[in-house]
Amino acid sequence: MWIIPVLGLICGALLGSIISLQIPITYAKYLSIAVLASMDSVLGGSRSAIEGRFSSLVLLSGLVCNALAAAVLAYLGDRLGVDLYTAAIIVFGIRIFTNLSAIRHLLMAKYIKSYPQPSETAKNNMVKDILR
């Protein structure tokens, strides 16, 4: 069931190492932001897949838009002298950890019978707690 996405990741890694993208060093920073954004999108997508409310459109648009927006914002921040790069890292970092913990909770609820099933509000509260 999760074989195809994992294969996708492996294929992507291989493809990336084969074509060996030569990103100029000055843009390495923005690439790292794009990586964080796509990590966040993928984890969000995984979570929604587990939750059963997956939407391809949301995932793909989120992937592209978040990655681009983060990179552009970081670039703009550099031009303006405002460290938006750090802001993007913090936001994506928080979201990644939120998604990861949500996935963990969902998986535990799914496979461990004694674990209390999370309600919709509980999940939302958890996210809010982390974001606060």
Binding site: L15, G16, G45, F54
Partner: protein, 235 residues
């Protein structure tokens, strides 16, 4: 529909992960390059690096200058040697021509004196002197090469009087050969009041022939120096 939905999320997620994989590997490569890039190093590491490199550079430049010196000395030696050899060769050739240790050839003039002219050794000597004075580069009488120690004299025997060169009796006809500018040599001999003119007064008419090519034999023995020593100039 649920089945289709299920398949769809697999594929979309796989697509997203594909993009993530590409980005991650690109980022890893970039990061690897970044670590090799000096601008990403911290300043204390850079200071150590600079010190090491400048030390290395200094030692290498010392090495370079040492090697350049060696090269220059080799080059000097080489040019010295080759020049020395060349000049020694030229010099030895010149000296052997002067002292007459080698056979020489070239254009010149021959002066032939026959027996019926009854030449005296003085006449032969005068002709030879005149030839030297006129710029002859090498002179021989019959088969005897004249060098710087040659002497022309005479020898009285019961068979008659012989003109001698280095104590070798000359047989007639006496042919004096000289290498040099043949016309200059001839003119200096035949000028009015000159040696030929003088001999003519005694009814001697030497035969002068300008030669395209004369070969003069080498001296019989080389000059050796036993007592004469060169004075080393101390300037």
């Amino acid at each position: 529909m649920p089945h289709r939905q299920k398949r769809k999320w697999h594929i979309t997620l796989a697509l997203a992960l594909l993009v993530l994989g590409i980005l991650i590997s690109a980022q890893i490569q970039t990061q690897n390059r970044l670590e090799l890039d000096l601008s990403a190093q911290n300043s204390s590491d850079l200071t150590i690096m600079v010190n090491n490199l400048s030390e290395k550079r200094q030692s290498l430049s010392l090495e370079v200058s040492r090697l350049e010196r060696t090269l220059n000395s080799y080059l000097d030696d080489y040019s010295d040697n080759s020049e020395l050899f060349a000049s020694v060769e030229v010099e030895s050739e010149r000296l052997s021509k002067i002292v007459g240790t080698t056979e020489v050839h070239g254009s010149g003039i021959t002066v032939e004196l026959s027996q019926d002219m009854y030449p005296l050794y003085k006449d032969v000597l005068d002709i030879v002197n005149e030839l030297w004075a006129a710029g002859a580069e090498a002179v021989a009488i019959n088969d005897y090469r004249i060098n710087e120690r040659s002497y022309i004299y005479f020898e009285d025997t019961s068979e008659g009087t012989f003109i001698t060169v280095d104590n070798n009796r000359l047989s007639f006809p006496i042919v004096i050969s000289a290498i040099g500018n043949s016309s200059t040599l001839e003119r200096s001999l035949t000028m009015p009041g000159g040696i030929i003119n003088n001999l003519n007064l005694f009814h001697m008419y030497p035969v002068l022939t300008q030669q395209e090519e004369i070969v003069l034999p080498p001296c019989e023995k080389e000059s050796t120096f036993k007592y004469a020593q060169s004075v080393k100039s101390t300037n």
